[in-house]
C-alpha cells in the first residue's frame, strides 16, 4: 500500500482545497503519506503528483530536501538525540554513544527487529532541558543513560502507549466547516482590496 487509501484521499483533497495554489499542499501530503506507510513510498509520490498537478520528479525534488521524510522504511520508533551546542555541553554526545551501544546500531541505523531507528539530530528546541531527545517527535527531557534504557524498554514492551508509530505527527487535524470558510483567495483572481479595508479606507492603501 503506498498510494493514498480511501480515507486519506479524502483528507488529502481537503488539504489541497485550503491552498490558493495546489502545489503548496505538497509537504502536508508527503507527511500524510508517511503517516500512512511509515515512510514516503515512490508510489505515494506519484499519487501526490497527480493530486496537485505537478510531475513526480518535482515531488521527489521537494521530498529529498527535508530530512523528516524517509524514502525507505525506518523503525517503528525513530529516536532523535540532540547533540547540538546546548545538549553537547550537558552530555548529548555521551547520551548518543550510550544509545548506540545499547541499541547496537550507529546513528542512522535501524535495529534488526525493525523497532528503532537512531538519529543524531540538530537542535530540537528544548535547550533548557538538555540533554533531550524525541521519539517520533515526542519529547523526553533531561535524560540520564538509565532514563534512556527505561524509555527503550517501555517502548519495546508496550508499556509506553503515548507514542504513535513513525509518521504520525499531530493526531488532531484542522477541520473547517464549509459555512465558516472565508474562502481561498487565488492570487490571480483577487485583485481588489478586501471589503473591510475598502470600507474603511476608500483608497485601499491599507498602510
Amino acid at each position: 500500500m503506498s498510494r493514498f487509501n480511501a480515507d486519506n484521499l479524502i483528507v488529502a483533497e481537503s488539504i489541497i482545497r485550503r491552498y490558493p495554489v495546489a502545489k503548496s499542499a505538497l509537504i502536508p501530503l508527503l507527511h500524510l503519506a508517511q503517516e500512512q506507510d511509515g515512510y514516503v513510498a515512490d508510489d505515494a509520490m506519484a499519487h501526490i503528483a497527480e493530486l496537485v498537478g505537478v510531475t513526480p520528479a518535482e515531488v521527489v525534488g521537494t521530498c529529498t530536501f527535508y530530512e523528516m521524510f524517509k524514502r525507505h522504511p525506518v523503525g517503528t520508533y525513530v529516536v532523535n538525540i540532540c547533540t547540538n551546542i546546548s545538549c553537547l555541553v550537558l552530555g548529548g554526545e555521551e547520551l548518543l554513544h550510550h544509545a548506540e551501544k545499547s541499541l547496537g546500531v550507529r546513528a542512522g541505523g535501524t535495529t534488526d527487529d525493525g523497532l528503532f531507528t537512531l538519529e543524531d539530530v540538530e537542535c530540537i528546541a528544548a535547550c533548557t532541558e538538555a540533554p533531550c531527545l524525541q521519539v517520533n517527535y515526542r519529547y523526553r527531557y533531561r535524560l540520564t543513560t538509565d532514563d534512556f534504557d527505561e524509555l527503550i524498554d517501555g517502548l519495546r514492551t508496550g508499556r509506553i502507549t503515548d507514542v504513535p508509530h513513525h509518521g504520525v505527527l499531530a493526531r488532531i487535524r484542522q477541520q473547517i466547516a464549509d459555512d465558516r470558510l472565508a474562502g481561498v483567495v487565488a492570487p490571480e483572481l483577487a485583485t481588489e482590496a478586501p471589503v473591510w479595508l475598502a470600507a474603511s479606507d476608500a483608497g485601499g492603501a491599507g498602510s
Binding site: 503548496s24 509537504i27 527535508y66 530530512e67 521524510f69 551546542i85 528546541a125 484542522q174 481561498v184 482590496a193
Partner: protein, 484 residues
C-alpha cells in the same frame, strides 16, 4: 494567576519571574491552551478592540509601539508592515513558527501553551493590513504544537473568531495550519515562502524578492515571527503608550530569553527588553542563579548559534540589540548558551560549524563548499590530525564566505578591539556567514587550545605529495629545471 516558581509539568523550561507578563500571562495555568481559559483571561479582547478601530488606526498603534521583530533581525514590525505596495492584492500573512536556531526555545512554548494568543495576534495583523489569508507555518518536528494549534483553530473557527465574518463583522480571513519537514534554512523568510509553495526551501535573492513586495505566489506577503505576533493582543488592548512603559526607549516591551547550558537554573524568561544585563540574567537570584557549582564562566553565545561569542568582559552589556551589535555580536533570537571552564572551545566550535554544514541548502557556492571545509578542517584538528596552517586556513575559508574583518568581541588582554555586527556576505542569506562566527570567536580567543591539539609537523613535504607524472608535466610547463 497560579503561582509557578519553577518548571511545571506542563511547561518545562518556562520560569515565572516577577515583572510584566505580556506574552506568558497564561503559562501558569494547566489548561492555558484551551479556548475556555483564553476567554476567561481576556482572550480575543485585543481583537475586539482592533475591530472597533479602522485598519489604518491599528497599524498606527503597532507602529507607535515600536514592536521589534522577535525572529532574529529585530526590525520594527510596524515599519515592515508599511512595505506592502499600495493597491496590489491579494496580500498574505505567513507566520514563522519554524524555530530551529540552536539554543532558541520560545516560539514552541508560545505555540504549545497559548495558541489562541498567536491566532489573535495573526488576526490583528490581517485586519490591519487587509491580508486575505494566513498560513501558520509550524516546524515539522513540533508535533504537540501542531496538535494544540489545530485544536485551537478548530475551536476558534467554531466560535466565530476565525473564518467568515469574524465576530459578525465584514472582516473574513482563513488561518491555515501548515507544517514543515525538517530544514533550518526554512526559518529564513524567503526560504519559508519557497517551502510554503511546495518547493525545496532555498532562499531567494533580495532584491527583488522582498516578501512585502514579491512574496508568496509573487504577491505582497508579511512574514512575522510567532513571538512578534503574540505581542499584538496586549498592545491593542492596552495601547502603545502602556507597552512602551516596559523595556528601554529603543527596545520596548518584554522579550523571551532562553538561557541554556551550564547555568544553575536554565529556563525561558520573560524579561523587560533592553534593560536587564547579561550578568543579571545569568547570575541573578531571580533568574539563572549563576554558573553551576564550582565552575567559572568561559564564554556564552548571546543570540543563538549564528551569533559571535561573548566572554566574561561582555557580561555588563544590556540585553539590547544596539549595544550588543556594537560589541561584536547580536541578540538574534533570544537564545543564550552559557559554557563554563570545562568546555572544550574547539569541540564546541566544531559542533556549531557542523550544524551549519548540515543545514546549508547548497544554493550558494561559498556556503555549500565553505561550511563543509570548515567542518572537515576542524574535525581533523580535534582528531589530532591537524597542521598548524589549518588555523589560518579556517580563517581564510571564513573570509571567502564573509569577507573583511568578521564581527568579534573585544579582547582587552590582547589589545584587540571589537568588530561590530553584522558581517559582510558573499551569499544570498546569512547562513554561510553565520558559520564563521564560532570560528573567528574561538580562534581569536582560544588560539592556544587549537594549537595544543596540533601535533603533526607543520607541512607535508611537497615532493612526497605530488604524483611523478604531475611533476613531469609541471616541469615541462615551466621549462627545464624551473620546477622541482
Amino acid at each position: 494567576m497560579t503561582p509557578n516558581t519553577h518548571h511545571t509539568a506542563n511547561t518545562p523550561g518556562w520560569v515565572d519571574v516577577d515583572g510584566p507578563h505580556i506574552v506568558t500571562s497564561r503559562f501558569g495555568f494547566d489548561d492555558s491552551f484551551t479556548l475556555a481559559r483564553f476567554e476567561a483571561t481576556g482572550g480575543y479582547a485585543g481583537l475586539r478592540a482592533a475591530l472597533d478601530r479602522t485598519p489604518a488606526d491599528v497599524h498606527t498603534e503597532v507602529r507607535e509601539a515600536s514592536l521589534l521583530g522577535r525572529g532574529g533581525a529585530g526590525f520594527p514590525a510596524g515599519v515592515k508592515w508599511g512595505f506592502c505596495p499600495p493597491a496590489v492584492w491579494p496580500r498574505y500573512l505567513v507566520v514563522n513558527g519554524d524555530e530551529s536556531e540552536p539554543g532558541t526555545y520560545k516560539d514552541r512554548l508560545l505555540m504549545q501553551r497559548d495558541p489562541h494568543q498567536l491566532i489573535e495576534g495573526s488576526l490583528i495583523a490581517c485586519y490591519a493590513l487587509g491580508l486575505s489569508q494566513c498560513f501558520l507555518y509550524v516546524r515539522g518536528e513540533m508535533a504537540l504544537a501542531q496538535e494544540r494549534i489545530a485544536t485551537a483553530l478548530n475551536e476558534a473557527y467554531a466560535a466565530g473568531y476565525v473564518g467568515k465574518n469574524i465576530l459578525g463583522t465584514d472582516f473574513s480571513v482563513d488561518i491555515i495550519l501548515h507544517w514543515g519537514a525538517g530544514a533550518y534554512i526554512v526559518g529564513e523568510e524567503t526560504a519559508l515562502i519557497e517551502s510554503l509553495e511546495g518547493n525545496r526551501g532555498m532562499p531567494r535573492l533580495k532584491p527583488p524578492f522582498f516578501p512585502a513586495a514579491i512574496g508568496l505566489y509573487g504577491k505582497p506577503t508579511i512574514v512575522n515571527n510567532v513571538e512578534t505576533l503574540a505581542n499584538l493582543p496586549w498592545i491593542l488592548l492596552n495601547g502603545a503608550t502602556e507597552y512602551k512603559k516596559f523595556g528601554s526607549d529603543t527596545s520596548p516591551g518584554t522579550r523571551l530569553f532562553a538561557v541554556s547550558g551550564h547555568v544553575a537554573r536554565p529556563g525561558v524568561y520573560e524579561i523587560e527588553h533592553g534593560v536587564t544585563t547579561f550578568r543579571e540574567l545569568i547570575y541573578g537570584e531571580r533568574f539563572c542563579q549563576g554558573i553551576r557549582d564550582g565552575h567559572e564562566l568561559k564564554m556564552f553565545i548571546p543570540g543563538g548559534a549564528s551569533a559571535p561569542w561573548f566572554f566574561p568582559e561582555q557580561l555588563d552589556l544590556p540585553l539590547e540589540a544596539k549595544p550588543v551589535g556594537a560589541a561584536g555580536s547580536m541578540l538574534g533570537s533570544g537564545a543564550i548558551v552559557v559554557m563554563d571552564d570545562t568546555t572544550d572551545a574547539v569541540r564546541a566550535c566544531l559542533r556549531v560549524v557542523r550544524f551549519f554544514a548540515r543545514e546549508s541548502c547548497g544554493k550558494c557556492t561559498p556556503c555549500r563548499e565553505g561550511t563543509t571545509w570548515e567542518e572537515t578542517v576542524l574535525r581533523r584538528i580535534l582528531d589530532g590530525k591537524g597542521r598548524s596552517a589549518d588555523i589560518d586556513m579556517l580563517l581564510d575559508i571564513g573570509d571567502n564566505i564573509s569577507p573583511g574583518p568578521y564581527p568579534v568581541a573585544a579582547n582587552e588582554a590582547e589589545g584587540q578591539t571589537a568588530v561590530p555586527f553584522p558581517p559582510r556576505q558573499t551569499t544570498i542569506c546569512p547562513l554561510g556567514p553565520s558559520s564563521v562566527a564560532p570560528i573567528t570567536s574561538a580562534i581569536r580567543r582560544f588560539r592556544s587550545e587549537f594549537e595544543a591539539k596540533i601535533v603533526l609537523p607543520e607541512t607535508i613535504p611537497v615532493a612526497a605529495a605530488v604524483h611523478p607524472a604531475t611533476s613531469e608535466l609541471a616541469a615541462a610547463a615551466h621549462g627545464e629545471g624551473g620546477h622541482r
